[in-house]
Symmetry: C2
Subunit: 407 residues, 2 copies
Amino acid sequence: MERSPLALPFPALAPIAGVRIGTASVAYKQWTRDCVTLVALAPGTVVAGVTTRSKCPSPEVELCRAKLPGGFARGLIVNAGNSNAFTGMNGRQAAQAQAARVAHVLGCSPDEVFSASTGVIGVPLPVDLALSGVTQAHAGLGQADWLAATNAIGTTDTFPKAATASAMIGSTRVTLVGIVKGSGMIAPDMATMLGFIFTDAAVTAVLWQQMLSAAVGGTFNSITVDSDTSTSDTVLAFATGAAGHAPLTSMDDPGADALAAALADVCRQLAILVVRDGEGASKLIEVNVAGAVDDGSAKRVALSIANSPLVKTAIAGGDANWGRVVMAVGKAGEPAERDLLSIRFGDTLVAQNGMVVPGYDESPVAAHLAGDEIRITADLGLGAGRARVWTCDLTHGYISINADYRS
Amino acid sequence: MERSPLALPFPALAPIAGVRIGTASVAYKQWTRDCVTLVALAPGTVVAGVTTRSKCPSPEVELCRAKLPGGFARGLIVNAGNSNAFTGMNGRQAAQAQAARVAHVLGCSPDEVFSASTGVIGVPLPVDLALSGVTQAHAGLGQADWLAATNAIGTTDTFPKAATASAMIGSTRVTLVGIVKGSGMIAPDMATMLGFIFTDAAVTAVLWQQMLSAAVGGTFNSITVDSDTSTSDTVLAFATGAAGHAPLTSMDDPGADALAAALADVCRQLAILVVRDGEGASKLIEVNVAGAVDDGSAKRVALSIANSPLVKTAIAGGDANWGRVVMAVGKAGEPAERDLLSIRFGDTLVAQNGMVVPGYDESPVAAHLAGDEIRITADLGLGAGRARVWTCDLTHGYISINADYRS
């Protein structure tokens, strides 16, 4: 797979105290790359998570949902190349057996082991490979860095995606590192296939979950590549507490705002990276909707624009076809008034008062569309509701990748 | 544009008494083909209609909505190559002026003239061309046949699409003829861009509207090409009464059932033809959902499958990727239970009880997918709700057509 033209360089990432990583190759598919990732977390690490809203989730997602209320994590195991979704009792037993093996090697309870798998749907995770992967990855614990882990959790990703941020909690600087894999079957809700965030901050599980839940709405739940939602989507955030400051217990604690903001920043960076690696993407598209009756309505209109194949193909062709944006606003089913609607491409006002602007000059729009970061803004003129979502264009590359993925 | 591989031959169509057609070429675009269609209808012709639910409809759609309650029609004017949508006051005045000219040449009230336009959004209909088209088409009234009319209403259509049916009302045989144009921006609700149906049956406007409204749910509102809904979608049905039988006034009248069934049959034929001419389509896909909690839920799940880019690209690639069907069921947001779901491709059961069927043999499925008429069936196992929708696959052809349409 060719590297996305929208790829960004892998960032410099500091280690997070309390986090050790090992990877292993067990060939879930016909490949030799590492595809099992084991993360060992210091005792006392708290966990928060958000999973797909699919009604057909994978066993790994079900296990995460069951364990998240416990609030503590000692291990994370990730399989790439097999999603283990829709595999019946065999798949569930395989996921449980692998988590049990992780608990055994790490000396913790299976309730503190979180699992995620990504890849083709419908093939049960091979138990022998899954267990062997744990053993091998455990033997190499501490030897894999963030880049190795990011590569090992990927599937059709064309570049490794990670982000970092830091926050001051009192006089202590804490660090956050997030890694994520895409890159198809991306839509709210949960738009990342798999994302994992680690910090050395000390925070209670309840507050950490509150911060993560607040962060995903405008980030992972505001991106779409193809409107398809995975059965496996999972974001897990781990806080080891190794930074040593007094644990945050409430948003009123000094530093809590800073940690929440840093977490949201990492989520936003990761979410946009997923779009930058959207299958076949050649342009990153930011869709802003203002003037809706409320924020929820604005988001539904923004997603209607961002998911429209006709809008996405127009952008792929560099075509300032704002009529398709009108169409996408009109079909959203949300309150809208044709004659109050205005549309911008980049900074250029293209249409308002129910028609193209007088003396419309397409050249600045064409120049904007020739770039690879496109902004579309629709103001509905009705109220104060706003939303921003990110997507990518729809190209021949998407068809090529997905018309022949499984074979 | 290459003719769709799913094209069907143009059917033999009888004239409808009370219907005369003229076409004209006025070059709304850089083309020499006829692109204005005038239909003159006998006095007393009743009309029923259904229009797009877009919040940004074209002026023609607004005019149709305003006139439909009157129940009578003497003229229909159709412009191809310019949708006149989102063109502000100029566009509204152009549409009204053209309708007034039609009323003048036909000697009727403007309230009895129905308008439809299709093509690029955002360019006001040029009044001089629109009026000249009426004059020219009126001069040739009675000289155009169904094929000429079907060709003249088309835009990116690759083959002319029409259907016919007949019904016995007492001892009188009545005939229905429908013509339709697609072929992108096709989604409920209204999935045909423009469709016109004519019959010599005699029926009250209220009953005729009732029959049309009942017919569209399982036909025009059950197809999707790309999930995008046009600002111009319009279906109008005209009944001239020229067959001479006593007018039908209620569904209890003898023959009313037969007329309603024939109308639904024509709508279904036309709707499937639109999908057969979906942009880039290489395969016709029928999606059946059974076992949903109710019919509405079944339809939403069916559309989730039919609109999924990943399902549509898999079919394009002949890939029996039933996991993507699981995904599309799971993302629909409707009641579903992973372990009760079963999936068939063609007649072959592929997955049930939350996993692939034991001893699954892909060869009959591969054979089915090698054809150009594909059936996908998902049984949710929850209730008696059923739905059937039609779509096409998503191919490189769709991208090629839409990434460079306006230029």
